[in-house]
């Protein structure tokens, strides 16, 4: 047994061929010592754990083309730096990762390097996945290797100049990439730490809920919100009480939103609804709760910041604008969202006091009016009610009026929107 441990230890740190060989010996030795079925059972358990973790990391979400085969890659992520095409991660030897071993997988996840040592672009969120433990990484690898291999050769990524100049990646990594598994904060509860591990690591929430600088580096784990790269959505701050910070919410309500996509006060739209459908609804209630506990603790209670626009005295033209918006509201919105913007709990979200309506970025509200949409279809909300796509009916000017109205009525104080704002949102449709 000692020999096996030593051998395995060596294998982790050294050459690939000997690793495979030693692993083979180790596996055989274990299989011989144990009951015939145990190794298979352990492996099955490992795979199902890996499947769960792959859900938590939503690997399939990116590594599946729209309408394509799961995990076979080919999804295009268009960013300011070019178009990234996700690779095939099924165990196909030619086009997938069939020839990879656990070390290769760990190197990708933890160090952001491909099997051949090539540096990966951080479109693959290894900046977050680096926090995942080796044990979890191995389980995910086992799961991926247990999938049916799919032969699918995907197009290569098309990274723009100068970002395609590889030495820049070295520089970028030196500046922005902190390699290392999540370290528990001993002053916090086990539940909080579990939540932090999931949010910061596999959940890679910070990949979207962050402001990226000119070279695409994100704020450090602050979840302070920002425009989502490649899609025209704003991922609200999870730390600000003015946006989506959970400070004033109960743990139960945050958990409900994460697990079902809807709560009494809010509904997740766009990319967040997708994440909930693909990933979060499948997590255990304990893990969802742990994430909620951690997220709630992030809220900074700085009530000194107030929304930028105050209308203590309204000018005539302003009053007139809001009146026109009110008429559009009455005609198209009131039937579902109510005369006082109160909504219907768990069905139609309230607009009065809804932070995503009044937050500084009007992007999501304009988008919702233009495109409509359905909340995620989940186990907890299997037959959601929908919002019509009003761009089929309203003109930009009318959308601006009605969005201005809901941002500045019933105590909401969110600032006015112009037709130009609406047009700009349309321009970036994804």
């Amino acid at each position: 047994m000692m020999r096996i441990i030593i051998n395995t230890h060596f294998a982790f740190s050294s050459v690939l061929c000997s690793f495979v060989l030693l692993l083979f010996i180790a596996n055989t030795a274990i299989a011989e010592m144990a009951e015939p079925n145990t190794a298979a059972t352990v492996s099955a358990q490992q795979q199902s754990r890996g499947a769960y973790l792959a859900r938590a990391g939503n690997c399939k979400g990116c590594h599946t083309a729209k309408g394509g085969l799961p995990f076979a890659g080919g999804r295009q992520l268009s960013t300011a730096f070019g178009i990234f095409v996700t690779p095939n991660i099924t165990p196909d030897n030619e086009t997938g990762i069939g020839h990879w071993n656990q070390d290769d997988f760990w190197q990708a996840l933890h160090e952001g390097k491909s099997r051949d040592g090539r540096l990966l672009y951080p479109a693959f969120p290894y900046t977050e996945y680096t926090k995942v433990t080796r044990k979890d990484a191995n389980a995910m690898f086992e799961y991926l290797q247990s999938l049916a291999p799919i032969s699918q050769d995907n197009a290569s990524s098309n990274v723009k100049f100068p970002y395609n100049f590889k030495p820049l990646l070295y520089l970028w990594r030196n500046l922005y990439f902190k390699q290392g598994v999540y370290q528990a904060d001993k002053s916090e509860s086990e539940e909080w730490n579990r939540g932090a591990y999931l949010v910061q690591g596999l959940g890679h929430c910070n990949a979207c809920h962050t402001t990226r600088n000119l070279v695409g580096a994100s704020d450090e784990e602050t979840l302070s919100g920002g425009q989502v790269m490649g899609v025209n959505w704003y991922a609200p701050s999870l730390a600000s009480h003015l946006e989506a910070g959970g400070g004033d919410w109960s743990i139960e309500e945050i958990s409900e939103l994460l697990a079902t996509g809807i709560s009494e006060r809010a509904v997740a739209s766009g990319p967040m609804a997708t994440i909930i459908k693909q990933s979060l609804q499948h997590l255990s209630p304990e893990d969802v709760r742990a994430m909620a506990v951690y997220l709630k603790s992030l809220t900074e209670h700085d009530h000194s910041i107030s929304p930028s626009v105050e209308f203590s005295v309204m000018s005539g033209s302003l009053r007139n604008q809001l009146q026109q918006g009110g008429q559009i509201y009455k005609q198209y919105c009131e039937e579902c969202h109510g005369a006082s913007g109160q909504g219907v709990p768990g069905i139609y979200p309230p607009l009065a006091g809804n932070r995503s309506v009044v937050m500084a970025s009007p992007l999501n509200t304009i988008r919702s009016v233009l495109n409509g949409g359905y909340p995620a279809t989940t186990k907890g909300n299997p037959q959601p009610y929908g919002m019509p796509p009003f761009q089929q009916i309203l003109r930009d000017k009318e959308v601006a009026l009605v969005v201005s109205y809901i941002r500045n009525t019933w105590g909401n104080n969110g600032g006015l929107i112009t037709a130009i704002d609406v047009d700009r949102v349309k321009g970036g449709h994804k």
């Binding site: 579902c336 495109n371 009610y385 929908g386 919002m387 796509p389 009916i393």
Partner: protein, 238 residues
């Protein structure tokens, strides 16, 4: 004193609650698909930028496949793709069944000028096809009454000429359903001449709607095979 205060608060709250009470929302599919019916009403509708066909009464399997095709990017129309992007197959099937169950009146036939040789050409293709060019009769797949075949094949009557022409154009330019092989309608549309396409579109739009979709047993095995792109591999209707 405290009691009075609480009493007043209660009354005040009660009055306030009335004004702000959430409306009772019907627990129905009709309520759930209001996002659809704002465009797809009881009849065909010409919007500012688009034409919205009536979808009520169409075969459930056909509607289900179109919903999945829009969502998964095989049929391209961005507003539909965005609307459906976070929906499951189960829910899309329920929506398809809901619309399929609606009985809505059809519009009267269009008044179009058509030459007698166009009528002859259209009727020849609609009922007999052209075996030499491997073009099956429309009626072979879409039913003798041209009202479709349950559950996957749509009817051809009660549609405006402009819509039929646009759909044929879509198939000729690479197929409405991209990435599916074989794509039977794409093959057929590409084989037809402009003259034939126009004659068929005119003739179909002029017919009085009568009859219902035929049962699935009327489709010959060869045509079911040829048109297997309409029956999705991973989810024939339950």
């Amino acid at each position: 004193m405290h009691f009075i205060l609480i009493g007043i608060l209660f009354v005040a709250h009660g009055a306030f609650a009335d004004e702000n009470a959430p409306a009772a929302v019907p627990d129905t599919m009709a309520e759930r698909v209001k996002a659809c019916t704002i465009c797809h009403g009881d009849e065909d509708k010409l919007g500012r930028d688009a034409y919205y066909p009536r979808i009520g009464g169409k075969p459930a399997g056909y509607l289900f496949n179109q919903l999945r095709n829009f969502r998964d990017g095989r049929r391209h129309y961005q507003p539909m793709a965005i609307l459906l992007e976070n929906m499951t197959d189960d829910y899309l099937l329920q929506i398809a069944e809901h619309f399929s169950s609606l009985q809505q009146p059809y519009p009267p036939p269009e008044q179009i000028n058509i030459q007698s040789d166009e009528v002859k050409l259209a009727e020849q293709l609609v009922y007999n096809g052209d075996a030499q060019r491997d073009i099956p009769a429309c009626s072979a797949c879409h039913g003798d009454a041209l009202m479709g075949v349950e559950p996957f094949i749509p009817g051809l009557l009660g549609l405006p000429r402009a819509y039929i022409t646009a759909q044929m154009g879509g198939w000729r330019n690479g197929g409405l359903m991209r990435g599916q092989v074989p794509d039977c309608m794409s093959e057929i549309a590409k084989s037809l001449t402009d003259e034939e396409t126009n004659a068929i579109a005119k003739w179909l739009a002029m017919q009085q709607v009568s009859g219902k979709p035929s049962p699935s047993s009327t489709l010959s095995p060869e045509l079911a095979q040829r048109c297997n792109s309409i029956v999705m591999n991973n989810g024939a209707i339950k």
